[in-house]
């Protein structure tokens, strides 16, 4: 294999260093990725390709590099989750209801990445409206995980909702990708695909121009091939935005400069409530390994309690659908997207009802209706207000742990390795929801959480560990994550079958 044709295998930091030395061009990197994308149609990760935009931006990046005024991500080709509005490029949240929608504007996060010099290769598949944990609810069809079990060819899920992003990064179709995370949608697919993913503190990244699912929980973040890459890309994505009233007006530090490799004297909490009944031994063993790695690096390990953990998923499945039912009310067939064909005599109510019945998939309908129910007169207090009170308690669990001196919390990222596509089809929806059991608490508490690949199970599938940090301390958290990454020494890649 020539070097040019394997440039897509680089991560952000490796490619950046070569670009700065003038050893490769952004056009070469971009062409290598475009070629890899063309050869990976079966994975169904990229659903709207933008090669013209990519090459135009790559050429501009090469000029800036030559002139010596290159911003931090100059010339680095990345994929963008379909949830981000990108000007003039289809942005439909993997839903039929947004078919044909081409935004007249660019989301703040994708604009920031563009301003940092990154090159957009196209839009990535995902669960419809980011609702799902297996990327099986997309209007574009399922995404395949490039990883397969050692002993069979069964098609596996890359996780969800950022499944296209996870698959594309793991299969080297791009150097990195954006994801979004409402209950685990960056961290669970990152774990299933053997890559790194961080959900920053709520308010770090502007939500403007990202199709809303549950506004009090949604956050964008990077999905990358290393912790260093995550630091580089997160910095480019973060920052205050007057167009998002919940975006934090805080200075964004140089996250990469904070990767010192030193966590001596830090305290790491191990929450006893994350030891679940029926958890596979391999996950338990991986968690114990992670604990040992951090201890060897000079951290102090303490057992902690987060007593309301058990109630996080039920609270999430009130709050997220409630917010979704409100956010998704805008899809009415009037201003954008799909409008149903009407029968003689149909009025505006029929137009709404038919449009939404045709445009939304089953999981989205289910969640919108559950949200409608928990917000309806007579149930608002019993469900919605109670869930918000429980959310207060879940956040307090974390605050108490941090107040007692804990710097980071170490947990498994997921309760299992990637499962087979279709395996959950006949299961009740709640079983699918359990995928997010270790990640959803972090969204409810608004904290930063990072998933790092830390080992393979006995079938050869990647497993991830999660580190949870204090609010706004992503830099410190990424430093700890890199210590874990180095100690785990995870270098495995899926063998190419596609």
């Amino acid at each position: 294999m020539t070097r040019e044709s394997s440039l897509n295998r680089f991560g952000l930091s490796g490619a950046r260093d070569l670009l700065r030395k003038g050893e490769v061009s952004s056009v070469d990197l971009t062409n290598a990725c475009l070629e890899a994308i063309e050869g990976a149609g079966v994975l169904n990760a990229f659903v709207h390709k933008t090669p013209e935009i990519a090459l135009e931006r790559a050429e501009a990046a090469d000029k800036r590099l030559a002139q010596g005024d290159a911003p931090k991500m100059c010339g680095l080709p990345i994929g963008i989750k379909d949830l981000f509005c990108t000007k003039g490029v289809p942005s439909q949240a993997a839903s039929n209801i947004l078919e044909g929608f081409k935004p007249e504007y660019e989301s703040t996060v994708s604009q920031k990445l563009q301003d940092a010099g990154a090159v957009m290769l196209g839009k990535l598949n995902m669960d419809e409206f980011a609702m799902g944990s297996s990327n099986e609810t997309a209007c574009y069809g399922n995404v395949l995980n490039p990883w397969r079990r050692d002993n069979d060819d069964a098609q596996l899920t890359p996780g969800g909702s950022s499944g296209g992003s996870a698959s594309a990064v793991a299969a080297d179709l791009c150097l990195a990708a954006t994801g979004t995370d409402t209950g685990g949608s960056i961290r669970q697919p990152a774990a299933f695909a053997g890559i790194t993913g961080i959900k920053p503190t709520y308010g770090r990244c502007s939500r403007w121009g990202i199709v809303a699912f549950a506004s009090s929980l949604d956050q964008a973040g990077p999905m990358t091939k290393s912790v260093r890459d995550a630091a580089i890309m997160l910095e480019a994505m973060c920052g205050h935005d007057p167009k998002d009233s919940t975006s934090a007006d805080l200075t964004v530090p140089d996250f990469e400069a904070m990767l010192t490799g030193d966590i001596r004297g830090k305290t790491i909490g191990i929450p006893r409530e994350y030891r679940m009944d029926g958890m596979p031994d391999e996950i338990e063993a991986l968690w114990a390994d992670g604990r040992k790695m951090m201890e060897d690096a000079g951290a102090k390990i303490v057992d902690i309690s987060l007593p309301h953990t058990k109630y996080a998923l039920p609270a999430y499945y009130v709050i997220a659908p409630a917010e979704a039912s409100s956010n998704l009310a805008r899809y009415d067939g009037v201003r954008y997207g799909h409008r149903a064909k009407l029968a003689q005599g149909d009025g505006i109510t029929e137009m709404y009802e038919k449009t939404r019945a045709e445009g939304f998939g089953p999981e989205v309908k289910r969640r919108v209706m559950i949200g409608t129910y928990v917000l309806s007169a007579g149930f608002y207090d019993a469900y919605y207000n109670r869930a918000r009170k429980v959310r207060t308690l879940i956040k307090k669990d974390f605050e108490d742990a941090f107040a007692a001196g804990v710097d980071y919390i170490l947990t498994p990222a997921t309760p299992s390795a990637a499962f087979g596509l279709g395996e959950m089809t006949d299961a009740d929806p709640v079983r699918m929801y359990l995928n997010d059991v270790f990640t959803v608490t972090v969204n409810l508490a608004g904290l930063p959480g990072v998933s790092v690949p830390a080992g393979l199970d006995k079938q050869g599938l990647p497993l991830g560990l999660q580190l949870i940090g204090r609010p706004w301390e992503e830099g410190d958290l990424l430093n700890a994550a890199q210590v874990l990454e180095n100690a785990a020494g995870f270098v495995a890649k899926p063998s190419k079958w596609w």
Binding site: S245, P314, V334, G347, R356, T372
Partner: protein
């Protein structure tokens, strides 16, 4: 709290999603599974606990009350399924 078919139909109506009568029993069953899961919240002692409004304690920023954007009707309408003469067109609303 168990949801019957008529409640499921009412919820679908409130959500403005057309559900065929034949699909109501399955929908009601799914609602019951999910609500059964949510019922666990009843075990938590929430006396005196404030419902969360904002996960990060921050005061919303104020800005000057002035027009910052506009004068782009073509862009606003460009994705509409049916736009005519600068308006979004919909079926008859008032009889």
């Amino acid at each position: 709290m168990s949801i019957d078919e008529s409640t499921a139909a009412k919820v679908a109506k409130l959500a403005r999603i057309k559900v065929e009568d034949d699909d109501l029993p399955a929908l009601a069953a799914e609602f019951n599974t999910i609500l059964g899961f949510i019922e666990q919240l009843g075990e938590v002692d929430v006396d005196g606990v404030e419902p969360m409004v904002s996960v990060t304690p921050m005061r919303l920023k104020r800005r000057v009350d002035e027009v910052t954007d506009g004068k782009m009707p073509d862009k606003v309408m460009s994705n509409a399924p049916d736009a005519r003469e600068g308006f979004f067109a919909v079926p008859k609303v008032v009889e």
